[in-house]
């Protein structure tokens, strides 16, 4: 039995973690280019075609909600016959629960989904696949994201990106919203995934199958969308301006656009802005 399975787990077997944005505020807003049900039907066909591509392919779906995240589907569990039914049922339960958790209605605008949570969960699952032995499907993450970036999630999302980079897991992103997502641009660029913002969302299924369906090995033979220039400039903590040059606190690495007397993040007091040449004399003085 073992030699057979070892042959089966070739380099074209994939584990696809799909993170679906279920933010109700986004899907009900005017920013959503198509209805959630249309979106779902296209995604479901895509998931089915992934599973048809290879018998050993595995798909897991995580819902990224406004107040929580949860696993809603795992193709390795349960019967294959009622795939869609079980997914939809779980999804409905999730959406209802997510709405119950929504205590304050004071969210202005669309609000951001908890992408950091679902990314972290996906990475934990992928680590389990890595631990399962030397033979495992090649994991990758596909973020289908619509709502805008939440600045509060920046550190957590960057942590997830670096962890994915370390374990060589590419993060693909398919942005459904009207704006580009700076987080996902960075995620795909750093981890070597594909970032795509489809122009015509009626043909979402077409985009998904041509760009995101191929396994990692076959990707090298395809002409996939090239990463557009990712802006790695930082924004300062004081005015949130994007800056070319700035001052960094040596203790906590906070970014400021002007020279301050005291760091607003860690509270260290600063001396004069320092250059390498003056530091030598200073050091010898006492």
């Amino acid at each position: 039995m073992t030699p057979v399975s070892s042959k089966q787990y070739a380099d074209d077997v994939s584990l696809l973690m799909v993170l679906i944005d279920t933010n109700p505020l986004f899907w009900s807003s005017s920013a959503a280019p198509l209805s959630f049900s249309k979106f779902l039907s296209q995604v479901l066909s895509f998931l089915n075609s992934i599973l048809l591509l290879n018998q050993l392919n595995q798909v897991m779906v995580i819902a990224t909600g406004l107040n929580s995240c949860d696993y809603i589907y795992d193709s390795s569990k349960g019967p294959t016959s009622q795939r869609v039914e079980s997914l939809l049922q779980k999804l409905e339960e999730f959406v209802v629960k997510d709405e119950e958790l929504n205590k304050d209605d004071s969210v202005d605008g669309i609000g951001s989904s908890l992408l950091s949570g679902s990314l972290s969960m996906a990475l934990c699952s992928i680590q389990r696949i890595f631990r399962s032995g030397s033979l495992h499907p090649q994991p990758r993450i596909l973020c289908m994201h619509g709502s805008q970036d939440g600045p509060g999630q920046y550190v957590a999302i960057m942590n997830s990106i670096f962890s994915a980079q370390r374990s060589m897991v590419p993060i693909d992103s398919c942005v459904i919203g009207s704006q580009h997502s700076a987080f996902l641009q960075q995620a795909s660029y750093i981890t070597g995934g594909v970032y795509l913002k489809p122009q015509h969302l009626d043909g979402l299924f077409q985009y998904l199958t041509t760009v995101f369906a191929t396994d990692l090995h076959s990707r090298s033979f395809l002409q996939l969308p090239k990463p557009v220039g990712v802006d790695f400039r930082a924004s300062c903590f004081c005015h949130k301006n994007t800056i070319d040059m700035g001052y960094i606190c040596s203790v906590c690495l906070s970014i400021f656009c002007k020279h301050h007397k005291k760091c607003s993040t860690c509270g260290s007091a600063f001396g004069q802005p320092q250059t390498v040449s003056t530091s030598n004399q200073k050091r010898k003085a006492p």
Partner: protein, 420 residues
Amino acid sequence: MSNYGNGKRKPVNEEEDDEDDDGNERDTEAWEKAYADERSWESLQEDESGLLRPIDNQALHHAQYRRRLRSLSSASAASRIQKGLIRYLYLVIDLSRAAGEMDLRPSRMVVVAKQVEAFVREFFDQNPLSQIGLVVIKDGVAQCLTDLGGSPESHIKALMGKLGCSGEASLQNALELVHEQLNQIPSYGHREVIILYSALSTCDPGDVMETILKCKKSKIRCSVIGLSAELYICKYLCQETGGLYSVALDEAHLKDLILEHAPPPPAIAEFAIANLIKMGFPQRAAEGVISICSCHKEAKFGGGYICPRCKARVCELPTECRICGLTLVSSPHLARSYHHLFPVTPFDDVAPSLAPNQHRRPKNCFGCQHSLLNPGNIPVHCVTCPKCKQFFCLDCDIYIHESLHNCPGCESLRDSKSVD
């Protein structure tokens, strides 16, 4: 410099011959050697009734990790979130005759080089804005192998090319050299030395105590990892300068000890003066443009980054602009260090036999959905996050704290966000 290296090569060969002779003198049979080298007894342990059984590696590993995590969190709780994130570290490698000893296989020096390679990579992963330099001690003198720099590959290449041991070790010479080099760095940087010391003696030209005092005055944090036995002078050095002294028991222990130095140490206010550092965030140069790069001094096609102050082209980030001296980084380099400032709280242990609360306990790990029940519905050992009260398996616990630096439970809650 190259002449210097060639001059050194000859004695190395002689040294190797000597060792072959030593091996013959010991005159051990092949079967004896197999036992002596494999150390098969180390993979067994005795249980309460004196029976021998294989070591439960996973449980041991996890217990070890928990201990480390707890000691780390207690240390960081005492101090504020200040860490020495900008480090200038010299790694001193003892390549004296003692490094040729074969108690670690194939020899101490090869094992040390392997661990240094792993350490250098891990170091730059965790401290992208820091710099390392390599120094070797050989024939009683210290020699600077690489200057302070931020590229892991160049350090590793330089070390692997110079592997060979001879002569005596000299602690004083190494410290003097490092002291001289580290005196030139800006005052916001944390000066550190890690010495991997194989020898049991130091052969110094003067008073080593004076040099230690000098290092102490210059706020250089010296740590020593011994490979043979504890030495008073090393212990004294570490005590005086606020470093760590440890002696490796075996290869795995050596690895742990070295990697302990990879996360940034807590910042000590007097050691480095907090300051604002001017940095540039260069943009990627347009594709298809030919420009002369300032680091390799040759024309390059496309790619690269443009210094925002002097518009010179550099190939890689992070670096220092060769023309105007501005530190060039990109925002992900800064973000890579943020997890040191906002660490995940250690998870609490959950006793496996928690009978009354059985119904409250979820069946699956929140992170990876792995079952928290052994076959036969016996609950396994698991942990819980004190903030979001989600349950995690031990593997996820390690992954979350060592690599991910996010608690998936807390990240999936909007409420916890607003508290932060």
